[in-house]
């Protein structure tokens, strides 16, 4: 009887592991492409949403991708790391990626800025794992819509998140209630990205003798 042999358990483990693993590997290879497409699509949707300043939930995946290819071009030397958005060939704004450590894991998002480099068109997040109902409220339209039309403030803190109920300046938004940590970290990562970007576009602007950055205060 084979089952009583000493080598049987090893042989059995080997066969069983090989069988199940190959199924899993095959399965995950089948869906690999789709997973990657999903990640890419989430990013593209976020860029469009932040840059164009409106959310269009009805758009399907292929449509988002087509629109992205049509309207968005990759960062170049003068955009300071931000994606460039065009509409009918006309330059309509920057989409600046930012990321950093959130409360639980990394948060990645996009902030859209108009060609004047000061007015925000919108923000969107494409990766986050904050607490549902608390920190994760940052992805809700209620929080994100506040950013539209805000003006980037002084360099130390271009965007400020204020406690709900306080009075807001032109570069302030209300923080998410009950999610102090997420708020503080998102505010920090966003401002860091904006600062770096501003420095880079200014450097690019002066070296090329292009238009001076507007709103000289910064």
């Amino acid at each position: 009887m084979m089952r009583e042999r000493k080598w049987y358990p090893i042989f059995y483990m080997f066969v069983v592991t090989a069988a199940f693993s190959s199924i899993v590997i095959g399965f995950s290879a089948l869906t690999q492409e789709r997973v990657e497409a999903n990640t890419q699509l989430a990013f593209e949707a976020a860029v469009l949403e932040a840059g164009l300043g409106h959310h269009d939930p009805a758009r399907s995946g292929p449509e988002v991708h087509r629109k992205f290819v049509e309207q968005v071009s990759d960062p170049n030397a003068s955009s300071g790391g931000a994606y460039i958005l065009r509409q009918d060939g006309r330059f309509i704004g920057y989409a600046l990626p930012f990321e950093g450590q959130g409360f639980w894991a990394r948060v990645k998002g996009i902030i859209g800025v108009e060609p004047d480099k000061r007015t925000v068109t919108g923000i969107a997040f494409y990766e986050q794992s904050e607490t549902p109902g608390l920190g994760a409220e940052i992805v809700r339209p209620k929080f994100r819509e506040q950013f539209k039309g805000r003006v980037l403030g002084p360099k130390e803190k271009p965007i400020r998140m204020r406690r709900p109920g306080s009075s807001l300046g032109e570069s302030d938004v209300y923080a998410v209630t009950g999610a102090t940590q997420t708020t503080v970290r998102v505010e920090e990562m966003m401002n860091r990205a904006i600062r770096d970007w501003q420095t880079q576009v200014e450097a690019a602007g002066t070296s090329e003798g292009g238009p001076k950055p507007t709103g000289g205060a910064s």
Partner: protein, 211 residues
């Protein structure tokens, strides 16, 4: 075995899994996921569906292999089979429902360590025929599901004023001061304690009546 006897056996398995030996309020197993994913009803439903899938199929699969598997590598094979199903769920979610996978975070992968799964495979799948093992896994995980849904419903309504993301009258209005603690893990501890308390009390009453 007559069909009548099979029926009564099936009923017996169902009563054990759903009520008498309920994994949450009797065995108090699988509590980590109870605490982690129950702040939104939608997350809970998906998590429970994943668990139902994993428990019933892995228990049945363990049962299929039970005569072939040597005793000394039994646990390894069980872990392998459970892992197999968990990865399938994870891959499926990643491919077809990425936002939900992001919501559930690591907890889908952690089904592997959920004591209920291993418990059912060891206690039932390893000794009983596949059909019964499947039924046992199904009922036990449904017993887990219904308790989690109760907890999640309370947490979402009290903490966010919504149910399945839709605003609930009164609770979403200004007259209700949302209980923020219900959204965070400590709120789950309290809800779990109250639910276990309530169901044990109910069981106790039932047993007293039966005497």
């Amino acid at each position: 075995m007559s069909p009548g006897m099979a029926g009564s056996q099936a009923k017996n398995i169902a009563v054990q899994g759903l009520w008498k030996d309920n994994p949450i309020f009797r065995q108090v197993l699988g509590i980590c996921s109870t605490l982690a994913v129950t702040n939104l009803v939608m997350n809970t439903i998906v998590m429970c569906a994943a668990l139902v899938f994993t428990v019933s199929l892995s228990s049945a699969t363990v049962s299929v292999f039970r005569t072939l598997t040597p005793r000394n590598v039994r646990m390894m094979v069980e872990t392998l089979i459970i892992g197999f199903y968990v990865i399938i769920v994870d891959v499926l979610l990643g491919a077809y429902w990425p936002s939900m996978r992001a919501n559930l975070g690591p907890y889908v992968g952690l089904i592997l360590t959920n004591c209920i799964v291993m418990g059912r495979c060891e206690a039932y799948g390893a000794t009983q025929p596949p059909g019964k093992a499947f039924l046992d896994g199904l009922c036990t995980s449904l017993g887990y599901t219904f308790i989690l849904l109760i907890i999640a419903a309370f947490r979402e309504i009290l903490g966010l004023g919504t149910f399945l993301g839709m605003p609930v009258p009164f609770f979403s209005g200004p007259g209700w001061d949302k209980w923020i603690i219900m959204v965070t893990p400590p709120g789950a501890f309290f809800m779990l304690a109250i639910v276990v308390w309530f169901f044990r009390w109910l069981q106790q009453k039932q047993e007293e009546k039966a005497k």
